[in-house]
Symmetry: C2
Subunit: 415 residues, 2 copies
């Protein structure tokens, strides 16, 4: 409850969050429910891939030593994918073979249909073939026991395919955290309420619930009946019993009616920081109590949005063991002047576009911290370092790609 | 069923898909169910934002014409957020006001607490203030009736916040398509099956289901009891009655046992293309029947993966009216040699990383079209144009960012 909070840098603030993360418990889920979860153990190959030396094309399996321009072969058998034969090819014999089918004994190469002059049960070659042409050799992709993906990897569609290949009908993953969301502020109306003078509808709660949904996390919504210390404390204590992390919006600044600092006191919470050298959202607070995070985001929608992306998102992904918990940063050309210098790092909602392979980023409409509409138009956030100078259109700046599911391994903001 | 199919370029193939898209029907959903859906009508502001001129800071509301160095003000009332007063400020009077609260009549500026020398019920200023300092003016963000977002916009967390702000408890969106997935091939086992000689587990069906889940689309899985024309035709006819689009894997090449071309014939389907100048996946087929798409993807996992991302994904998003249906392409440095020239465009599963704002892309492990494990390690696809030359490490190449939720408005592959 002091007016003179000491701001820490954005990098230090994120580092403090990261240092305080503890992993959530592990559970076993069915393969079909595993997409977008995080592996809680290394994924190991249960057999060689390919399991057997097989044809990579539709064609004729032959012994490469028989191949030569004009050499004539006799087709002795045919093997669709999924079938196999114990027959051992002899000189100038061939199998008609389909993609994926096991190569017959002594065969080591496949001639594609279009590479042969075919006549009834025979064909002739137009050139010599090397061993293993058009063939996938047993174990060439990976060997039994090899670690394919490490613990903490996000299960993407390719991971699902790999798990299926190796017969993992179930997989150990980190549990999905349940995150409680509560917006404070007596000026807040529900979405279906008629507007009243002096009031606004609560947009932060549904926004954060969508931000949580975007990273596959379960949100639990809480409502506050009255905006006083006792009710708020009671509500947050209830949330702590029901969820794995708490996000509040509003009530964190230095105004006379901002109650959360008092709630942190009562809870005996360890406040990691309560002022960050950033605009908007300098009053963002992150605390820990009972081994759980309490994210006190600003009530201003834009500050709330970037506060979530900067602190809550990586923390919630790290709880699930993610090794790529941060939004990627990319260099882009600034599309508009920001001439006024600011000592704090500025986060500006931005529209990122990819034109001819180059990243262009311009502010997404009206840029004040209370702007809601510009969040809807943005798919990233321009980051302007704090300091004594302003920025001009054309300057190279960093852009945080918030609307990206796949992240990177480190928080990459410039210090 | 001809061996001599005419390949078309990747760009032309995608264009053919785009030309044949028709919009799916529209439905109304609750705000809390709207994330990741596509707006079926423009989103219009139902009131000015801000609705009233309000304080952007905690401080004292004054009339700017009274402000001067040393000027003394008397605090006559206090206004928390959500409250308001009809009192009209007189000369050298001030309101103690909280962020978000409506400015009293005749007040036009807010002095932050830390900008004033406060003593009991009075304070003095250290400088002059301009009108609208620390104030959000009615309608400055947007005006009633303004179109905020156009039809076809993806509903992101910011859109949810905007809908809430304007009191849209429900919103019209395009229905989520149901997509049927069927893998063909008698060599395929289920994930829980023991491996048999000559067979592999079906990894394409679960992979595609995860690719569909990634774009928020419902997948319906079908199994094939027997791999013959009659059963396959019956199954696909059944799928057509139950889903909005059909994806099959395997059965599309020129092998003797590939039945899908015959099925397309029997269905009277219009085949948009059945050969694309790309590796892997040149046999990828897209057809239309009964107003629905039929995506015939290759049975090779990597070809299946990129075939989905190139053709099925944008089609399914366009059906929902999306204005940003394509994966972004970005320029990146190639991390490895690809010296062998290929007349076809090559798609290589890649690991994209963002290091100091620069995009680095390297092939994700073993690169053959039957490689499953490298899909799991990839978050993008390197695109090497077809032609007469190979590529060297360090060459600038395009990378398709497949693992990104927010897309761009046009398919950006170089022609």
């Amino acid at each position: 409850m002091t007016l003179n909070r000491q701001p820490i840098s954005v990098f230090d603030a994120v580092s403090k969050v990261v240092e305080n993360v503890s992993h959530i418990d592990v559970e076993t889920v069915k393969l079909e429910d595993s997409y977008n979860r995080y592996l809680a153990e290394d994924l190991t190959a249960t057999h060689n891939v390919p399991l057997f030396t097989r044809s990579a094309m539709d064609g004729f399996a032959i012994r490469s030593q028989d191949s030569a321009k004009g050499a004539e072969f006799k087709v002795v058998e045919e093997v669709p994918a999924g079938s196999m034969s114990d027959y051992e090819l002899k000189e100038y014999e061939a199998f008609r073979i389909m993609t994926g089918a096991e190569l017959p004994k002594s065969a080591d190469t496949v001639v594609m249909f279009e590479q042969a002059n075919v006549t009834e049960d025979t064909f002739t070659l137009r050139k010599t073939f090397e061993p293993y042409d058009n063939v996938a050799i047993e174990g060439e992709e990976c060997e039994k026991g090899e670690v394919i993906l490490h613990k903490g990897s996000q299960i993407n569609p390719g991971t699902v395919a790999t798990l299926a290949t190796f017969g993992y009908a179930e997989v150990k993953v980190y549990r999905v955290p349940v995150v409680g969301v509560l917006s404070t502020g007596s000026e807040l109306l529900e979405v279906s309420d008629e507007l009243e003078r002096g009031k606004i509808r609560n947009s932060n709660t549904p926004m954060i619930m969508a931000q949580l949904e975007r990273i596959g996390v379960h949100a639990k919504r809480y409502n506050l009946e009255e905006d006083n210390l006792e009710t708020l404390l009671e509500k947050i204590e209830k949330m702590f019993n029901e969820v794995d992390a708490v996000i509040t919006t509003g009530g964190v600044s230095v105004g006379d009616y901002d109650l959360l600092p008092k709630v942190y006191d009562k809870l005996g919470a360890e406040v990691l920081f309560n002022k960050v050298a950033m605009r908007p959202g300098s009053v963002t607070t992150v605390a820990r109590a009972q081994g759980k995070f309490l994210f006190g985001l600003s009530g201003n929608p834009s500050a709330c949005y970037s506060g979530f992306e900067l602190f809550a998102r990586p923390a919630i992904l790290l709880m699930q063991g993610s090794t790529r918990a941060f939004a990627p940063f990319i260099n882009a050309k600034l599309g508009e002047d920001f001439k006024k210098a600011n000592p704090f790092t500025r986060f500006i909602r931005a529209e990122i576009d990819f034109i001819d392979g180059t990243v262009i980023s311009k502010p997404a409409g009206f840029n004040k911290s209370n702007a809601v509409t510009s969040i809807a138009k943005s798919n990233g956030v321009i980051v302007l370092p704090g300091g004594t100078r302003g920025f001009e259109a054309g300057d190279e700046v960093q852009v945080m790609m918030t609307d990206v599911t796949s992240g990177v391994s480190h928080f990459q903001v410039k210090q």
